[in-house]
Symmetry: C2
Subunit: 212 residues, 2 copies
């Protein structure tokens, strides 16, 4: 078993367990047991539990943000010759990337949204600060394109509405499995990632534009 193998197995196990039970409620013993590695391996390879949490985020977020950044640059290029990117297209691009930029099934995206939800509801802002520092620029780039897509919405209100949208996405996907049960019971219809994003798009677009 090579080094990277152990590291990857730990990351895989941690990703799933953190999403399932939260950071505090997931013990290193549970992670290493699931990964089939020794308990001490986490502290050996990552240094601490906190560092492991950051590593889990980094492994997912870095490819996604690189892909998003490239795509946004492409879109900026298109609009340099006048016009702006439609609101729907911006969100479609982002969601398609979030769901499929890793080559694996969108199940991982779900797992990761759950993680994000827990990161945000976490008190200590170590993690939040770290996320903002590392991935803030892409977010601001997205926001700039957004501003040109809805020029009639004042920047201040747009800022808030983007956060509202983020909340809708993360919160919903965080509570997926319970919502899945409700939805199945009330509407006899199961829930897929594609299905949810399909529902999300009109809501977010309507919300950003504002109503009333």
């Amino acid at each position: 078993m090579s080094q990277s193998d152990t590291v990857q197995r730990i990351l895989d196990a941690a990703e799933v367990l953190f999403a399932q039970k939260g950071f505090a409620e997931t013990s290193l013993r549970a992670i290493t047991s699931r990964a089939g590695v020794n308990l001490a391996a986490v502290n050996y390879h990552f240094g601490s539990k906190e560092a492991l949490i950051q590593a889990v985020f980094e492994r997912y977020l870095t490819p996604f943000c690189q892909a998003l950044d490239a795509k946004l640059e492409e879109l900026e290029g298109e609009t340099r010759s006048g016009g702006e990117v439609p609101l729907e297209k911006l969100f479609t691009v982002a969601s398609r990337l979030a769901l499929g930029s890793h080559g694996d099934e969108p199940r991982r995206a779900m797992i990761f949204f759950r993680l994000s939800g827990q990161a945000y509801s976490q008190p200590q802002d170590h993690l939040r600060a770290w996320l903002r520092e590392h991935y803030g620029p892409v977010f601001r780039r997205f926001l700039a394109l957004l501003r040109r897509a809805v020029p009639d919405v004042p920047p201040m209100e747009l800022f808030w509405r983007v956060h509202f949208s983020l909340g809708a996405v993360i919160f919903t996907l965080s509570g997926m499995e319970s919502l899945q049960a409700i939805s199945k019971k009330d509407f006899n219809q199961s829930v897929t990632a594609a299905h949810i994003t399909q529902q999300l798009l009109p809501f977010v677009v309507g919300g950003i534009r504002g109503g009333g």
Copy 2:
């Protein structure tokens, strides 16, 4: 120190600390220390930490849900003679009640929204199930009025959009203090509860109606 005094002091301390640091990260020792009572008092008066968490929710939610239920009944009465309650009015009523049904400043509402966020991102659905069981009927009553306010939105989509809205609210108010910092820096404008709900209303209304 009378009994109810100790109980209330524990609830006060727990409410703040749970919101600040989460359920798992808040120890009974921290709670009793802040409350100025003995460690064993929690297990004596509430039985367990889990029961204390439920008690915190109950103390807040019961008055709110009673007030909301009464208000909804009143609205139903108005519409019995034909017509339906406008979307804006439904949400205005709900938000006003959430912010002011306790006689104290809306700061408590913020604390409570943080709690809700943590309850939802929590893995064990003991709490979620308990909340649903106790306060589900009011929610369904609200949903029924909503359905009549936007008859052109299919029930399935409305169901999702309501959850998206809930997510927007809880997520935003959960991350308040960090958003406060950003907003102050970028827009030189501080953030109040009234201000946020004012921003939320058009977003939620637009989102529920849907755009695109």
